[in-house]
């Protein structure tokens, strides 16, 4: 059996706030193989975002282990974690998190800047990603000059520009209308078919239905983990 892309064992996160401790994640153990499209569901406060932040190397677990591509992540230093985020991960956020007053092209090229990719290579790569998601004619636009769906597509292009192995999307459709949401899902499905592993958090069953596997959280634990007959988002449009 080939090694999974992600393996977590007993992953635990407690938020300490003064004297009381909020257990956000209480021992999550699971594997995600390369090429999977996973939807994470669960009620508000069940620990989905906490889980995603740990997968994204943005936060340290209180206990448990996390292997990414066979490498124990909890043992890495801050700079090494930054390098993992830069080379292997891509993030898509609910509120896009684009740099204001910065062109779509510069926004997309940002990860390459921190990856020491020379400018001569940076911009062609960013441009290629932007045209791939259908925004070739918007490269000079600032976020404020783009619709919500377009901004999220720019954010996806940014997540993809460094050819990541894993894209983490925490409620990427949370701020979009349903049709635009399906468009975004179609884009993600297409990327998944190209081989990128995707983990996505959503509250909506309709959205989760586009994934091949659905993991449900409750009170910081996995309560259900099942395969799903994925609907084709492109066909649903």
């Amino acid at each position: 059996m080939s090694e999974p892309l992600i393996r977590v064992e007993g992953l635990t996160k407690d938020y300490v706030m003064g004297s009381n401790v909020v257990p956000a994640l209480r021992g999550v153990t699971l594997d995600i193989a390369a090429g999977e499209f996973v939807a994470v569901m669960g009620p508000s406060g069940s620990g989905k975002s906490t889980f995603m932040n740990l997968l994204g190397c943005l936060d340290h677990p209180s206990a448990g282990s996390y292997w990414f591509g066979g490498q124990e992540v909890s043992a890495l230093s801050g700079d090494e974690l930054a390098a993992v985020r830069n080379r292997k991960l891509g993030f898509v956020f609910q509120h896009f998190n684009l740099l204001a007053r910065t062109s779509a092209l510069d926004n997309v090229a940002l990860p390459l800047l921190y990856g020491n990719v020379p400018a001569s290579e940076r911009y062609p790569r960013a441009e290629r990603r932007l045209s791939q998601i259908g925004l070739a004619d918007r490269i000079d636009h600032h976020p404020a000059q783009l619709s919500g769906g377009q901004q999220q597509r720019v954010a996806i292009a940014r997540a993809l520009v460094n050819d990541p192995q894993l894209v983490l999307a925490d409620e990427p459709t949370g701020a979009l209308d349903s049709r635009t949401s399906v468009e975004i899902m179609a884009l993600l499905q297409q990327l998944n078919r190209e081989g990128i592993t995707i983990v996505l958090v959503t509250h909506e069953h309709d959205i989760a239905n586009f994934a091949g596997r659905i993991i449900s959280f409750r009170d910081g634990k996995v309560v259900e983990d099942r395969a799903n007959e994925a609907k084709d988002a492109a066909a649903a449009l």
């Binding site: 943005l58 700079d79 930054a82 390098a83 740099l99 007053r101 800047l113 921190y114 020491n116 940014r158």
Partner: protein, 411 residues
């Protein structure tokens, strides 16, 4: 991440908040400009004093008539002439430390040339006068001993007199009248500029002391006898001024037949010493000015720190995002540091331009002497950069120490 990219990010961030960046820079601009102007003003004042020292000549001691004690009543300085031409010659002759001593009689009057005239001061003196004052004759010649002995009808004139009476034409060999006495101009003195009282030293006519006494001064109290108003003494280079002064005093007391216990009837003044004291105090003054100006530079630096702290707080989510896409702590640190240093350097550059312009404007408008120095400009620029680093470091470090997830979640 390379430096060019960091610089681009910093410039972009500063451009996004143009007004705020400009206002932040204002502190540095004012500080740097103030330092440059103040140093220029201070240096100017110092240079003025130095020029005065140079124009006075070095190692100068003045001997003035003092009070004569007559029946218990004492007059002020110069109320009664007590020193004589012969005192000057004796000083010259008998004291080794003295290079030259020149007696002088001062008067004022109209110099008339045809139908133009100019009122000025004149001095009757000896050839040593030009030696004592390091004052070359640039056209014509100086006095000859025969002219001194024989009350020759000759005169030397300063640049101001030459300009006002003769304009462009050569004054040498022309005849002017002072108090109706015709004097042939034998030479023109080099330019000297202002003295320490702000008087124009080039507004002067020199003539042999005998000519002044016998022909020009007329009914003055100096017209008869050998008395003079003052004696100017130049001490040899390297000689001990204090020792020279003591020996002069001793010789004069002896010549004036003063008993032990009796007060001097003359004053001895070391002019170089007075000027040197002035120079020292103007040095302290310019240091003080620069120190005050540096305080405004410091305040400007605190302004930068303040704005950078606000900026870091405001852009916490941006910092989180940058970290999420792979920025290391040190990338964030350099970004904010470069922003602060860029602010202070641009501010410094504008401040230098304003400071240089301001120093020139002060020289032009207020007619103050200012002296711009390259080193003060380099110093101000270096200081501005250092302030950027010093005051930018804390906010930048604060930004770089944020945890990615906390920065991203910040509201």
């Amino acid at each position: 991440m390379n430096f060019a990219a960091t610089l681009r990010i910093a410039l972009l961030a500063l451009r996004i908040n143009k007004l705020r960046s400009a206002l932040t820079m204002l502190g540095i601009i004012i500080g740097v400009a103030a330092v440059i102007v103040m140093i220029a003003v201070g240096n100017g004042a110092q240079a003025r004093v130095e020029d005065q020292i140079r124009s006075l000549g070095s190692n100068i001691i003045m001997v003035l008539s003092g009070s004569m004690t007559s029946g218990g009543a004492r007059g002020g300085s110069g109320s009664q002439p007590t020193i004589t031409e012969d005192d000057a010659y004796a000083l010259n002759r008998e004291i080794d430390e003295i290079q030259a001593a020149a007696p002088s009689l001062r008067g004022s009057g109209q110099v008339v040339l045809g139908n133009t005239n100019w009122s000025t001061v004149f001095y009757g003196t000896s050839p040593e006068y030009l030696l004592v004052r390091d004052w070359p004759v640039i056209e014509g010649r100086g006095f000859e001993q025969a002219e001194i002995n024989g009350a020759g009808k000759v005169a030397l004139i300063g640049q101001t007199v030459a300009l006002n009476l003769f304009g462009e034409t050569n004054p040498v060999d022309q005849v002017v009248r002072i108090n109706k006495v015709p004097l042939t101009i034998i030479g023109v003195l080099d330019r000297k500029g202002q003295n320490m009282m702000g008087q124009d030293q080039d507004d002067i006519v020199l003539m042999p002391i005998s000519t002044a006494r016998k022909r020009v001064l007329g009914s003055s109290r100096f017209a008869a006898g050998r008395n003079v108003g003052s004696i100017m003494v130049k001490v040899k280079d390297g000689a001990d001024m204090a020792a020279a002064e003591a020996r002069m005093r001793e010789l004069l007391r002896q010549r004036h037949r003063l008993q032990t216990g009796q007060d001097d009837d003359f004053y001895v003044r070391n002019l170089s010493e007075i000027l040197q004291a002035q120079e020292a105090s103007s040095k302290v003054m310019s240091l003080l000015l620069a120190a005050v100006a540096s305080v405004s530079l410091l305040v400007g630096g605190i302004g930068i720190m303040n704005i950078m702290l606000v900026s870091v707080t405001e852009r916490t989510r941006e910092i989180g995002l940058r970290m999420a896409v792979g920025a290391r702590a040190r990338d964030i640190l350099t970004q904010f540091l470069v922003e602060a240093v860029t602010l202070s350097l641009i501010g410094g550059a504008i401040g230098i331009l304003l400071g240089v312009g301001g120093a020139m404007a002060i020289a032009e408008l207020a007619n103050w002497r200012t002296e711009l120095s390259g080193s003060s400009i380099v110093l101000a620029a270096g200081f501005a950069g250092a302030i950027g680093i010093f005051f930018g470091y804390y906010p930048a470090r604060k930004a770089s120490r944020l945890l990615p997830i906390e920065a991203l979640r910040y509201e």
